[in-house]
Symmetry: C2
Subunit: 321 residues, 2 copies
């Protein structure tokens, strides 16, 4: 008995600060195999990128020696394997595909790398990796192509204005990193019992969001200390205080990012994990109940960029939704 075996066409890598995801993609960007390792660029030395790459995709390369490989993320930064200079806003599929960098070894290109995006101006801003998720999100949801606003939650959340399939402008919020440093190194984390279960308290999270909404333009920054004083006065359980803090910080991000945001422009959340659900709930409370979550956008974004750059030829076009 024979079934038609999908033919691998591309090795696609999402190589960030803390983790490395590898996808084996077939025609139309179909996902054939994948793996994840904690081998982000901050966890491996600069000299060992080639070894990490071999360990991650060597098996695929042995079976299919001519498969091209394309990576996005911090691997293309100055601290990465090979710097892929930023392309300016407005940035879209064509300028990203034209800006690929490449790692050559023994006269052969081992890996292509997607450039990041820079928005210049009085306050420059940069992204690396998110541009690829954004390309993927537009592929997965056609309603975003004409005009949309995206939020990509994370260590450094990105808020992105899309116009005619291009990144028009964007802003970074350090919300995830702020939460982590306050939890791990400030007095706000000290109230939390070590044995506290990590179950999210939505009530505490929403209480933090409400504290921001009630403050009006003063915002949540001015209320950070309440994550401690409410516990001190017996009005918030210690094990709830981090969810409350998360509400204060995400609420402040939303306050700043949405305050001139038209509710008629489609808004989508691009991300995988429970953090996206947290943002979905927060946005609903801020009056953006229609925000949908788009997951697994990186692999399809890499496929689209590989296609636009000629690394792979589309033999069987994935129907655009």
């Amino acid at each position: 008995m024979f079934t038609s075996t999908p033919v691998p066409r591309l090795i696609a890598l999402d190589w960030g600060t803390s983790s490395l995801r590898a996808y084996l993609l077939g025609d139309g960007g179909a996902l054939l195999e994948q793996s994840v390792k904690p081998w982000g660029i901050m966890r491996t030395s600069k000299r060992s990128f080639a070894k990490v790459f071999a360990a991650m995709v060597g098996e695929w390369r042995r079976r299919w020696p001519n498969l091209p490989a394309l990576a996005a993320g911090m691997i293309g930064s100055a601290q990465g394997w090979c710097e892929a200079p930023y392309v300016p806003c407005p940035a879209g599929l064509q300028s990203l595909a034209a800006g690929l960098a490449s790692v050559t070894e023994g006269g052969r290109i081992q890996l292509h790398i997607v450039p990041g995006v820079v928005e210049e101006g009085a306050m420059p801003d940069v992204m690396r990796g998110e541009e690829t998720q954004i390309i993927g999100a537009m592929e997965l949801d056609s309603r975003l192509r004409r005009r949309a606003r995206l939020v990509l939650p994370g260590t450094h959340s990105k808020w992105v204005e899309l116009r005619r399939e291009r990144i028009q402008s964007f802003s970074t919020y350090m919300t995830g990193e702020l939460f982590a440093v306050l939890r791990d190194h400030s007095i706000l984390g000290r109230a939390v019992p070590v044995s506290a279960t990590p179950v999210a308290s939505w009530a505490a999270f929403e209480r933090g969001l409400m504290a921001v909404l009630e403050r009006g333009t003063s915002g949540g920054f001015s209320r950070l200390f309440s994550a401690r004083t409410l516990v001190l006065r017996g009005r918030l359980r210690p094990e709830e205080s981090l969810d409350y803090l998360s509400g204060l910080l995400i609420g402040e991000e939303l306050r700043c990012a949405t305050h001139r945001c038209s509710k008629r422009v489609p808004l989508a959340i691009v991300g995988e994990d429970s953090l996206s659900e947290r943002y979905r709930r927060a946005l609903a409370l801020f009056g953006f109940g229609d925000a949908r979550i788009i997951a697994n956008a990186s692999a399809i974004g890499l496929w689209r960029i590989a296609n636009a750059s000629g690394l792979v030829q589309e033999t069987q076009r994935r129907p655009r939704s």
Copy 2:
């Protein structure tokens, strides 16, 4: 030859989280001797407060066995030597003096402790130590007594509304702690060369303040990442990035704290070190050019509270300015 030797009347202690300051005060709160040690409550174990106290003031106690001792600060918290429960707002000299706690050993009171202040309400807030500086500031500057606003810069800055010599309400901003955790544990501190000189760049500091002013109601929270991107794009020198960050954070504090603040109410900065000068410059940029700095308020505040509680009798009243 005989000169009239001042008679010691009170041992006054400012015993905080990171340091312990001891003052030997004479009539009218005149400063006779003082010493500072890094013996704050977070740096000594709970069991060793008695030893630390003996090491700090034992010499004075041996020379003047009946001298009363009064402390303010975190030594009166649940993590301190003896908890002095908070007194509620509005709080003034009388309620603070009535709320003293005391440490007794061998049937004798070793030390009296000034209570902190709590503001209840939807968002409770607390202070410990600042209430004593505030009492001292009103003693040092009579213009503050009827109505004033004070800022006490620090790890946890306090903004205080004074009415008729009482603390009417106040808010805590975690600005100093935020700066420290971002400098030491986030990507914003990583840009700074280890050998960077600690000389303040006022230009970079003011650039951070301006970034907040220009953002309007969105504020400085949304611009934290610019402390990295400006360096990344070669538009801010790495060694200036922490002063810029300081401007963003203090600017955001000022934006929140002053946005409904009448310029006709006297505004004073209570504090000793270079941080007060930083706040003075920032306030001037925000349109509060008249803010004056009041230093060394703790010792005189302790003297006033000791007097109001009957621990010492005022034999020679210090003229109120």
